[in-house]
Amino acid sequence: MNQTSDLDRLLGDWLADGPNRAPDQPISAATQFARAHPRRPDPLRIFRSDPMADRRRSPFGLQPGLVFALLALVVAIVAAGVIGSRLERPVVVPPSNGQPAPSRPAQESPSSTPIASEPPSPFATVALNANGGRPATVDIFDLSGLVVDARSGPAVDGVSIDGIVVTNDKADSIVVTWDGSPCDTAHRLTVDATATHLVLERPKCTGDSIGRQLSLVLKFSRSVVASDVQATVVDGQGGGGLPNWTLSGPDTAGNVFHAMILDASGTLVSADSTSQGGGGTRLPPDTGLVENLTPTTIKLTWARRPCATDEQLMINEGVTVLTMIAGDCGTGTGALDREMTLEFSQPVDASGLTPDVQAPSPGPS
């Protein structure tokens, strides 16, 4: 009986030792990120899920705000129907809190108030020199308005720097160099309003492949001192159009594919390719299957022809639909199974998940 308590006591004492105060660096980096990503009022906030909400308690699995809005929409439609049948003239039903409004008469002028603003466009998208490795790009968002040009710098196999380094190329241009891995393919660089903070986001990925350095040259409309510029690398967050995860893996015959994952739910914890050898397939081409491995882990199996080497997986906010899109390849026979496991921070029911594996387009040839 005492053994457990002895171990508990030892463990408690041992864990009590060690640092309790955070170093400045990660706090400073997070502050830089916050500066470069100012929060704007979110008109759809009421529809966003509460990160601490228990999904099982929510009626129909929906957010209270969404349930309310749906009820309001139903009431509005019924009311419009009743009134419309009495007046026998077109009735305009106003949009209800971001929900799509019922069809309106053709003469109705469009609403002057947009429900949600379009995401900002990047200043530029630069194809990075990957030195023969996997292609990589970076979308540049310039909040300062001072960036006048952006181009790739040289790539280097292996890593000789730690993190991200900024140096002056000329008086008005800087070279941003960072360590990465071959699976870092999509990046986003944000230049803050003062052009003194840079935040580079990239997807998470797993794998032990040899690292590589990527670099970007930014030219400004005025002189910039590299030592005054603070740069940070962070993992891509859910949503926002940047893939959260990338992975590479073989199909059952060893043909390599690459997948970028866009997780709108923000609950994806890890993603790994788990295809086994043997060359077999149990699915028709361009179809998929989802199974639970644990309450929080699912296995997605789908079948593709080997020519579909680039895949994109989109996970919707409610983790109810997995949409898989492949690059140009075409349809036909000869598909082989591919597998990946996806672990989430919350339970996911595979029986309620729809794998939407879309057939690739035939391609230019």
Partner: protein, 158 residues
């Protein structure tokens, strides 16, 4: 938050990365948190999640530690664990646990959370939290015992 990350990951730099990710998530997701009373549990959840992700990326988890049968403890002397004077042994045993197992032990023994609070932080049923704590402690005992056995075999060979 840093204290929890450090104790789960046992690595300063990984803990800093986990803290940074967790703070960024706090910044991004804070408007979605409707109940201010759940802020503490939410931040615990974020730091545990970020630490688990860092552990996976670093490939530091080793889930293959064999578990001893339940009756293995019966043969142990009462002061066996008290004899673990060398904290390196505890460190080695702890490092052999998975990040999920380390997380529940850190939340219980370092953060001082109850079983129900751990369940809330991890978003799992209370019973599941209890079983995770039980199996984590059992795995730690097994890892320490495996360490002790390998030390003894080395001594007998010498």
């Amino acid at each position: 938050m840093y204290g929890i990350a450090y104790r789960i990951l046992r690595d300063q730099y990984l803990a800093e990365d986990a803290l940074q990710q967790a703070l960024i998530t706090v910044w991004n997701e804070l408007p979605r948190l409707r109940d201010p009373d759940r802020f503490d549990a939410w931040t615990y959840r974020l730091i545990v999640r970020a630490s688990t992700a860092e552990a996976r990326k670093a490939g530091r988890t080793n889930p293959t530690t064999p578990l001893l049968p339940d009756d293995a403890d019966a043969s142990r002397a009462p002061d066996q664990y008290a004899a673990i004077a060398d904290r390196d042994q505890l460190e080695r045993g702890f490092r052999r646990l998975t990040a999920e197992q380390r997380s529940v032990l850190v939340l219980q023994h370092y953060a001082g959370l109850s079983q129900a609070e751990i369940a809330d932080v991890l978003g799992i049923p209370v019973g599941t939290a209890g079983s995770r704590i039980h199996y984590a402690a059992r795995a730690l005992r097994a890892a320490i015992e495996a360490d002790i056995r390998s030390d003894r075999s080395r001594e007998s060979v010498a």
